[in-house]
Symmetry: C2
Subunit: 338 residues, 2 copies
């Protein structure tokens, strides 16, 4: 290889100058503007969902770099832009999240009913199969219909909210800021010559510290039954145990983005596996919550509630399986690192 990517942990490697950060931010800002153009042109070959995803993707990366490399950027600018980027990616994420949650839950209901899984269906106002009589048991069918109603409504609302956001003045101000970023990055004085590696290493240390606080020994024992503890708890927030895992998910993403800035892609496959396990953890946890919430709908039939209970527990076991998968991939990573 002509150009070996620098390893931030290697003290003998060359320093990575702040100009690399500026390059990265300019490139992501350009991606943002391209996605925005795609979205406004609408349907020119690309799905609107792809444009929204590309917008979120660059917004998250810009926001991550602003966080990790904050000392190298103009502080007033950086602190005003970051919340706007978080607001945007949060707002745009919801529609897709509800769609994915519904798909996950309907697929689980089919798996639990022993009926063949349908060809990947785009969940929408009237998906086929899920409520088809004779395929699912009554309780499962009713639970599926209930979840479909609730999550489709939530998704429709999220869609409207996203559209309103993209047409509003708050977004236009942000788009203007990003357009400026694509040509000129407001670095702090002296940042162009500063080394990016210590700040990237600090992001990695924050990740390591958070991982070491996770109950990985328990997670590494299959069928530890931890994820369902409190599954029937009377408390309103029954799963505080999830929070540290969600936090690691965010820190892992920041670490991954920082590596992208440094072009240090060496272990990316492993980081990707760990990140996917944590995405699955989050998705399953939210799906389990959606099933539990649906079960609180007034006047549902006991068979519906029973199916939702089975579904909730199934998704909490997915949570546990995801923790196991993370533990396994993380262990490989630690062992594999020189």
């Amino acid at each position: 290889m002509a150009h070996r990517p620098p390893d931030p942990a290697d003290p003998a490697a060359d320093a990575v100058p702040g100009t690399a950060l500026a390059d990265h931010l300019r490139a992501q800002a350009t991606e943002f503007l391209r996605a925005l153009r795609l979205h406004r042109e609408g349907g020119a070959g690309a799905e609107p969902v792809d444009a929204v995803r590309a917008l979120r993707r660059s917004a998250r990366r810009i926001s991550g770099s602003l966080h990790t490399f904050r000392p190298l950027l103009d502080p007033a600018w950086s602190e005003s832009v970051r919340p706007e980027l978080s607001w945007l990616s949060g707002t745009l994420a919801l529609e897709q999240a509800y769609a994915a949650r519904l798909e996950r839950l309907l697929l689980a209901l089919h798996r639990l009913s022993g009926t063949p899984v349908l060809p990947a269906q785009a969940p929408g106002p009237a998906p086929s199969g899920a409520t088809e009589p004779g395929k699912l048991a009554v309780g499962a069918a009713k639970a599926g219909a209930l979840l479909e109603r609730q999550l489709t409504l939530a998704r429709t609302r999220a869609h409207s909210t996203a559209l309103r956001a993209l047409g509003g003045s708050r977004f236009h101000a942000l788009a203007d800021t990003v357009a400026l970023l694509a040509s000129e990055v407001p670095l702090a004085p002296g940042a162009a010559g500063a080394d990016l590696r210590p700040l990237a290493a600090a992001a990695e240390e924050r990740l390591s510290a958070a991982v070491s606080a996770l109950p990985l020994v328990t997670a590494g024992h299959p069928y530890n039954a931890e994820a369902l503890v409190h599954g029937l708890s009377p408390g309103p927030a029954p799963h505080p145990q999830d929070a540290p895992w969600h936090q690691v998910r965010l820190l892992l993403r920041l670490h991954r983005y920082a590596r992208e800035v440094l072009h240090a892609d060496l272990m990316d496959v492993r980081l990707t596996a760990a990140g996917q396990a944590l995405d699955r953890h989050r998705d399953a946890a939210e799906a389990a919550t959606a099933a539990a919430e649906a079960a609180r709908t007034p006047r549902i039939a006991p068979a519906t509630a029973y199916a939702l209970g089975v579904l909730h527990a199934d998704q909490r076991h997915e949570v546990e399986a995801a923790r196991f998968a993370f533990q396994q991939s993380w262990q490989k990573q630690t062992v594999g690192t020189p």
Copy 2:
């Protein structure tokens, strides 16, 4: 060691004569009569439940030897006694099974509610804690109360049936047969000099064949989610996948008993671990069924049904965990065998 136990797989080891079978049957018959005396004397230091357990224990062993070493015993006698022993151990097993099932389900409800597990309670007509308000969420408390009602009723009925059985003529005839067996074992002609090892080896082969038909590769992958497939199936017998595991459980027991006859106790620890995993498999499967059946009680509240659904899924995951544990212990066994 002065007396090394013979290994049935070792062709160089000494043959085990049929007289060892006669010794074993006489000893088990004596155990049976001792347990019966204990039961009739009642409360002389020992719990009645211990006496019943000892009765079942020797009945199962006699029955197992009759099956495995059938060619060495008087066929007419053997074929008339075995069904009686099965009837007895089946009848006596039920009361304890219902009590254990209730205890398992109440402990699971407490675990799922995040409430501290109570000190090992003897489940009875009025166990404490389980339905204590404020400790369990409403649904979990109601589910616990419902299961308690249903399983306590079943247990009381099983207790009466067992008492009636032990006082009836069918049992008295069997007790007479066992009393005769304690002094004289009806061996087939020439059986005293025959070698027991080929018949014990055949029992082991039946076990190996049944194990090799199990989906052990799947079971060895943690969180394979197989045990809950069909968990919401509309069919009346939703878990045909359990049957081969139950069958292996019985064959493993026969193999273990055959080894006892041969005094080949070398690998007993491993066999015990595998057997315990299969006991747990059976117990969890039956507890899951009990939760599902309770959910079909007319006019229950949706919150109760929801809790029963969570409980059902939890126990089905216990089923999956038990399969994993069996796979692990069996693998060790196969690797450990020379």
